[in-house]
Amino acid sequence: MSTAIQFEHVSRRFVLHHHRARSFQELVIRMLQGQGNGRREVFWALSDVSFEVKKGEMVALVGANGAGKSTVLKLISRIIDPTSGRIIVNGRVGALLELGTGFHPDLTGRENIYLNGAILGLRRDEITRRLDDIIAFAEMERFIDVPVKHYSSGMYVRLGFSVAVHVEPEILLVDEVLAVGDAAFQRRCLERIDQMRANGTTIVFVSHDLNAVRRLCQRAIWLEKGCIVADGSPEAVVGEYATQSYAASAALAARRELCRHGTGEVTIEEVRFLDGEGRLRDFFSTGESFTIEMRYRAHKVIERPVFGIAIHRSDGVHVTGPNTQFAQYEIPMVRGEGVVRYTVPFLPLLEGTYYVSVSSHDRDSICMYDYHDRLYPFCVLSGAEERYGLVTLRGVWSWKEE
């Protein structure tokens, strides 16, 4: 048995009752008014999905909100049933719970470990055997006999995570739980997940953090509206997905108006990212050629305008802020439409998500014509060997024995 999970033509339908009575009170009112149960709508959260996960494999599920990722995990863990198809699961399934789901506030940490362990399917003696490890991993020795209602939320998360990973499931399902907790905690979680993978645990990982997907997983499956669009190496699948999804992102369009200000003499109409061959992309590797292209429209003749950009990392670090004036690149005059490009032949940024701001202003920086604050994200994947910090300086090492 080298298969851990097998989906054979699995579909799942949800019936959305738009006006179904949710209480007897409503039911009676409906009946008195002579209304039925109202409109029903059938919604296929998954349609004809087939895939196989091998033992010990770590597979990522990526896709937009509502694509059906959580539905797949719920089917694997038997929380919901398939409408058609067959699912075969070999091995005990465990899930990482959010924020200590299932903890009872009045019980102590120790008692909650037993409670949570039992919910996750462990016997009492199995929990007792792992108790010390669980407490040590959560770094909770001092607080373990205190009721958990006195814990900070960080302690809650740590303890819950610690129980979940020490259950030693053969198949671990991770659904975006790593988004909570501080950076140190996230790193520990990822390390532990990595370790579990090394020990042969099969892992299905749902995350919107595409870098984590690329770094951790051996395979990625891209779901879209309940169907598998792509299934293959994370590099290929994630790259494709990221490029597509960002262009269609509606949330971004909503932000677009909020984060704009300026007097409007020269408006920036469009911002795009291009790779070395001039293709549109939002996804780059360290070391690649990277171009930011701004399409502007001047509503009247402006002399010697200045165009600038700023790049922030997702945690707010201001990486750089070049403009045409600093570079002593003078644009004599603009009128009508045009394009300004900023090209970096070798992108020094290390992996992360970055946000680009663009601006157009006058020579003395008194009048801001248009300014888009961090409206344009792009991702950098670790193409380089370097992986700590913000940038690679492309420094050169040397060594000599004396």
């Binding site: 209480s23 038997r78 919901i80 409408t83 699961v89 719970l97 009045d106 037993y114 039992a118």
Partner: protein, 303 residues
């Protein structure tokens, strides 16, 4: 019905649509079999949940125990004052009479009210982890059983204090309790399921339980009801209907016979009467299991 079959560590989930009509009966049998095996595997979870409830209740141990014992005692005191001082009813050793009905009733009512919410209250867990959902209402009933057993000590203390004999019939007590547990579990499973779909079940049941309390001979003997009641041409045998429609009345009558008799110590219960109650309890239990089993697959999306 989706077929879920477990062989060792392998789980096979086959959607209903995949099964042909001829395959179904066999598959249902296999599914039920695996399901029972699974319930057995999760018995420790049931125990842990019962322990959780008890620990939470008795955490502040003095207060917890006092409350379990004090609440029925206070109610007993109120009933005794009302029915021996204010409207004398000539019942021999009234406090014991009333406790014999009150304690089983409190067990029943606390279990029912507690289990109605048990599934909905654990929604975050149900959305995230699989475990047999039955353990949620069942653990509520079992932890209330423990409280009931603790409270029974008060009853025995009173029997001794009133110098009433404890007869051999008291040994039937465990059987009566088991029948009550079976009946209560059935009601709990049904109502917990209904509450998932109609969230005001709980509110309705709080009123219904109050009505049920008055309709059950707890603080009054069934003798005060007329044996028969004339409704036009129809003659209704009130006692018979009370016992048939209300298993709690039968159960409390049995508790009373074996512990209290007529105030002079336990007497033998009528076996055919108790047998019928047992059959009703089993029927309600099986109905509850079936309803729960049928609808629990929807809990994951409804809670």
């Amino acid at each position: 019905m989706t077929l879920i079959e477990r062989k060792g560590s392998q789980t096979i989930i086959v959607a209903d649509a995949e099964l042909s009509v001829t395959q179904k009966p066999l598959h249902v049998a296999r599914a039920v079999f695996s399901y029972l095996g699974e319930l057995w595997c999760y018995r420790e979870l049931l125990l842990t949940l019962v322990m959780r409830d008890l620990k939470v209740r008795y955490r502040n141990s003095v207060l917890g125990i006092l409350w379990s014992l004090g609440n029925p005692l206070l109610m007993m005191a109120v009933f005794t004052i009302v029915f021996t001082v204010m409207t004398p009813s000539n019942i021999e050793k009234f406090p014991i009479f009333v406790l014999c009905g009150l304690l089983p009733w409190n067990f029943f009512s606390a279990s029912v009210i507690g289990s109605i919410r048990s599934v909905v209250d654990n929604a975050p867990l149900i959305r995230k982890v699989y475990f047999p959902r039955e353990v949620l209402p069942l653990s509520v009933v079992l932890s209330n059983l423990v409280n009931f057993l603790i409270a029974l000590t008060v009853l025995f203390a009173f029997i001794l204090a009133f110098q009433m004999p404890i007869t051999l019939w008291a040994f039937l007590l465990p059987v009566v309790i088991i029948v009550q547990v079976i009946f209560t579990c059935g009601v709990a499973l049904i109502l917990a399921t209904v509450n998932v779909f109609y969230r005001d079940t709980q509110v309705i049941m709080e009123v219904a339980m109050l009505a049920w309390f008055f309709l059950t001979p707890i603080f009054y003997p069934i003798d005060i009801l007329p044996r028969s009641y004339h409704l036009g041409d129809l003659t209704i045998d009130v006692w018979r209907w009370m016992y048939m429609l209300n298993p709690m009345a039968s159960l409390i009558a049995t508790y009373r016979v074996i512990l209290y008799g007529n105030g002079f110590g336990g007497a033998p219960p009528a076996l055919d009467f108790f047998g019928r109650t047992t059959v009703t309890a089993l029927g309600v239990f099986i109905l509850g299991m079936l309803i729960f089993f049928r609808y629990k697959r929807l809990f994951g999306e409804e809670v």
